[in-house]
Subunit: 211 residues, 2 copies
């Protein structure tokens, strides 16, 4: 099973990626689970938080619910079924080999994650990955990977989770959880769906692998 | 029971209104039900719809879910309990005299309204008003009421629902539903909480009454 988190920043460019994933899953008979980011909905929450100083818990809850909203959009755009629980998802994914997870039911009912902005949809996707017992996750975003400095730095092929510091394309808690859950991650530009396929196929491609 | 829909456009100025309503409800032992608008979350959906042409049904669903998100913010900012169903709301409102309704459970489970952008949180609030069997609704927004033309026109004290045409501070379907449900409405600027209280108390104030 492949787990891919598709950032909300890709919303307006997501169709080719979803179409490619759907076709690949069917043709190769490989199961792909998609987790959506919160995108511009999450940005509205950041703005509300900045102006009104709402609690971290409320920001966390609303950010999680934003992921569902983006997931609904991905589902319609990609013609891919959505599920709010892993029981149904695991049962039904056999039919079409691809599914979108609307994660709020799982994430709020289990309340596994810290309530803070250092946890965003990247880290939350790792908790889902743990439940799905996958060893790898692909983070599809709107940049080519992680750079040694940003902007203007050099794209890194591989980085150790311990070496991720400061502003990158993944959230603050992500490298810590990645180690804790003994998982690996690929950060890749979702505007180039062929790169995601290259990762599935273990081919060299433009991305950053976090080990 | 008073029913007031508070527009999401008031999010950043909502605290004085919520505080005033909470105090008034307690002191006068009057029940106030608050329905939130979708605010900037709904604007994100409009943008996604414009760029990706999602279905009217999906826009409708996401707009309804946006109302819940704003309701969660109002609940925390105002220290007012929130409910997602009228059974609990009607039972519990006796204690604190005020409640916020997160309307998505009701609106999606009953699916009473047309799926179109001519129905927004204003009209959706009328469906809730009908379920609550109220005869009046207050629409708190960020303008003083309905103008004979906008911008630059004269504020109308009263307008017949039949005469509402074109761009106003309520949605397109609102006057039609108002007649159909035999309800009256007040459009008032929520940045001036005393005007809302004046409406409760049947005093003259700056607002537009729709009959």
């Amino acid at each position: 099973m492949y787990l891919i988190k598709i950032g909300g920043s890709l919303t307006y460019h997501v169709k080719p990626l979803l179409t490619t994933l759907k076709t690949y899953a069917k043709e190769k008979d490989k199961n792909i689970v998609i987790i959506p980011g919160g995108g511009e909905f999450a940005n509205v929450i950041r703005k509300i938080d900045k102006k009104l100083h709402i609690s971290n818990s409320l920001s966390h809850k609303l950010a999680i619910k934003s992921m569902d909203l983006v997931g609904e959009v991905f589902s319609e755009i990609g013609g891919i079924k959505k599920y709010d629980n892993l029981f149904d998802l695991k049962k039904e994914i056999r039919k079409e080999n691809i599914a979108i997870l609307l994660p709020s039911t799982i994430l709020l009912s289990t309340d596994m994650a810290e309530h803070s902005w250092s946890i965003t949809s990247d880290s939350l996707s790792l908790y889902i990955g743990k439940l799905l017992d996958v060893k790898e996750i692909i983070i599809a975003t709107d940049v080519d990977g992680i750079y040694d400095k940003f902007p203007g730095g050099k794209l890194l092929n591989t980085i150790n989770a311990n070496d991720i510091k400061g502003l990158t394309s993944v959230d603050e808690k992500f490298p810590i959880l990645l180690k804790q859950f003994k998982m690996k991650a690929y950060v890749v530009n979702g505007k180039f769906p062929e790169r995601v396929i290259d990762i599935f196929e273990r081919k060299n491609t433009i991305c950053t692998k976090i080990i």
